[in-house]
């Protein structure tokens, strides 16, 4: 509790005790009673009175302090001394609860986002110094001890360790880092001391970008939030005028003006829209915080709102559903051993810079002794021809095999096939393909289970490869051999096909998807840690490569929206009910205070549920 809150608590206790004491000795004469009850009333309410006075001078007629003062003074004037003091007391208690609850929520949300590093260790003249991360320049070498946060992005130059990336990715398994590997800021170094050469200034490091994104998320307001602030603007004056009408019109016909005045005062107490105005943005922010904890960065409440309506999810293939890394997935030797086939292919390809050559050499996974290679020739569009240990080795596609007159046969596996011939005899083939991510199939299933009607895949890859992946993953539609511009067109066509109420989500790896990401209703960039273009263009960023997070993000958004509507309906419902009961003379001023601050506190507590995410 802050000092200010403690002071209010003390005032509440003193005033409550005094109120009870006065009540026990119930003064006989009315003027004595008025005087004695004024003591606890002023103790608890002097700051409300002061604020009301200041605000009315500033022309703020519909200020909640001012309305509270009118209500309680009105009660006082009608001889309800106990009620006036008690209502003020109850109101302040509610405000205290509210401020504690808001403080707690702010804290727990910001704790989730507690990735800001406080310092960096930099070696100067042999001494380790702690400096502000902002003062560290690119190229500086920093030391990260066990248990410390990595303050800036960089490359490890010394030491090995495991780093905890959970604050960024939601992934609980620590990642091992070795020299020459990149590390990103915000991770926690867990097991060993590492030395890192800084590659980005603090302002451009991952941690700053994420913090920026989270902090600015509150300024992108959801429709529900704008609605409620607009509503609040009319709500207070409307209730105040209703109160005025209630105090004046019925007594003209029915008389008993004191009774009607009392009912009107109840209206004034309920006229503050705070519960609504607090709980809606708080729910969104808690939802964004909860998603952030899972490694899902949402740029604003408005995106959660749209995401909750997603009906079509469109995927890019490479890097999104597949790993984006080309590997040798099939080895079919003929007449020679598997290892021998790989060896020959790797030696033949060893001078090539083609990505396919790289994946074959990776699959061989041993040092290449260049002395064993004689003449070597790259045949563009077909493959390579090399002399290895005196053998004439050709490695390439079917065109190359036809050219040298070797009989080959196609492989039933989908991918890029590399045939190998030794001294004019067919020796077998390798298939190189992009592997599908382990969780992709499950991710598509999870989307369907969460009510996504249609899944679509777009790819620049060949028809066979694309359709094969789509079929294996259970994707409804696949469009292949698309250029980046075709993708935008395709997405536009899909947007016009779907119903107005549903949203279209596009998921890409963010490298060349920027136009599509921004064209879709919601653009999700994945595996985007560090990619500026993706963070810029996407509405939601998945910090790890896991496509399963898409369904999770949709679930979080739906839950958040449900909580928002619960709060709106609950707060408005209670207020309306108490207004009606108050007008009929069935509700006391106590109920009115509950409808004001009590509802706020309950709505705040409900909003905080959005922070917790079930697996």
């Amino acid at each position: 509790m802050k000092r200010k809150q403690k002071k209010i608590l003390a005032r509440i206790i003193i005033s409550a005790v005094l109120l009870i004491v006065v009540k026990i000795f119930e003064p006989e004469t009315w003027w004595l009673a008025a005087l004695l009850y004024a003591v606890p009333y002023l103790i608890i309410g002097y700051d409300v009175l002061r604020k009301a006075a200041i605000n009315i001078r500033n022309g703020q007629v519909f200020d909640e302090n001012f309305l509270m003062v009118i209500a309680t003074i009105g009660a006082y004037a009608t001889g309800e001394f106990t009620e006036a003091a008690a209502v003020m007391l109850f109101y302040q208690t509610g405000e205290l609860f509210q401020s504690v609850a808001v403080g707690k929520s702010r804290k727990s949300i910001s704790a989730l986002m507690d990735i800001r590093p406080d310092y960096a260790n930099i070696e100067r003249e042999g001494v380790l110094e702690q400096v502000d991360p902002e003062e560290v320049a690119v190229g500086d070498e920093i030391v990260i001890k066990v248990g410390e946060k990595i303050p800036l992005d960089g490359i490890v130059i010394e030491g090995e360790s495991f780093v905890d990336t959970s604050a960024l990715t939601g992934e609980s398994l620590p990642r091992s880092v070795h020299p020459d590997e990149d590390v990103i800021s915000g991770c926690i170094n867990q097991t060993g001391l590492i030395k890192v050469r800084v590659t980005k200034p603090f302002g451009e490091s991952t941690v700053s970008k994420i913090l920026d994104l989270v902090e600015n998320s509150a300024s992108k307001k959801a429709r529900a939030e704008s609605f409620i602030t607009r509503f609040a603007r009319y709500y207070t004056p409307a209730v105040v005028f209703a109160a005025l009408a209630l105090a004046v019109i019925p007594p003209i016909f029915a008389g008993g003006w004191l009774n009607w005045l009392h009912r009107a005062l109840i209206f004034l107490v309920i006229s503050c829209p705070c519960a609504l105005v607090i709980s809606v943005p708080l729910s969104f922010f808690a939802g964004i915080g909860g998603a952030g904890k899972q490694g899902i960065l949402v740029k604003g409440g408005c995106y959660l709102e749209v995401l909750s309506r997603s009906g079509t999810v469109v995927f890019d293939k490479t890097g999104t559903l597949t790993k984006g890394v080309f590997n040798v997935t099939v080895i079919h030797p003929e007449r020679i051993g598997e290892a021998r086939l790989i060896e020959l292919a790797a030696y033949a390809e060893s001078y090539s810079t083609h990505p396919i050559a790289k994946s074959i050499i990776d699959a061989y996974n041993a040092d290449i002794d260049r002395r064993r290679i004689g003449a070597c020739e790259e045949l563009s569009g077909r493959g390579v021809r090399a002399v290895i240990d005196g053998l004439d080795v050709c490695a390439g596609n079917d065109k190359l095999m036809d050219e040298i007159g070797v009989k080959w046969h196609p492989c039933h596996h989908v991918g890029t096939t590399v045939h190998v011939a030794v001294d004019g005899v067919y020796a077998g083939h390798l298939v190189i393909s992009d592997e599908v991510k382990e969780t992709s199939a499950e991710a598509i299933k999870a989307l369907k289970a969460n009510g996504v009607g249609k899944t679509v895949m777009l790819t620049g890859d060949s028809k066979e490869v694309g359709e094969d992946v789509a079929k294996r993953l259970g994707i409804d539609e696949a469009y292949t051999q698309l250029l980046p511009a075709d993708k935008v067109e395709r997405v536009e066509a899909l947007i016009s096909q779907k119903s107005e109420k549903q949203a279209l989500v596009f998921v890409g790896d963010g490298i060349n998807d920027a136009p599509v990401l921004s064209r879709a209703d919601i653009g999700i960039a994945m595996g985007a840690m560090g990619s500026d273009a993706a963070i810029e263009a996407a509405d939601i960023v998945l910090m790890d490569d896991d496509p399963l997070k898409i369904a999770k993000a949709i679930r979080i958004s739906r839950r958040t929206i449900r909580i928002v509507y619960e709060n709106i309906i609950f707060a408005l419902g209670v207020k309306l009910l108490v207004l009606i009961l108050g007008a009929l003379g069935l509700a006391s001023m106590w109920a009115a205070v509950f409808a004001d601050v009590g509802v706020s506190v309950i709505a705040i507590l409900n909003a905080m549920r959005a922070l917790r995410v079930k697996d």
Partner: protein, 73 residues
């Protein structure tokens, strides 16, 4: 120019909404958001008039919620 400021002692959500509205009405302001949750004010105003606009915004805030202060670094 767009700048973000911290709002100290912003305790009442409705006041935040009122401030946002009032600041939006100041001449030279392109856009403004007040976030009660993060206690932040984002002000987007014309470059050459930014300081004058900010001064006006501080005044407006004080009028609506005397306890709340825009922290200017």
């Amino acid at each position: 120019m767009k700048k973000t400021f911290k709002l100290d002692e912003l305790d009442c959500a409705n006041c935040g909404a009122k401030m946002e509205n009032a600041i939006k009405k100041i001449d030279g302001v392109n856009d403004c958001t007040v976030s009660f949750v993060t206690q932040k004010l984002t002000l987007d105003a014309d470059d050459e008039r930014f300081d004058a606009v900010l001064k006006e915004a501080v005044k407006v805030c004080r009028k609506i919620e005397p306890d709340c202060e825009i922290v200017i670094k």
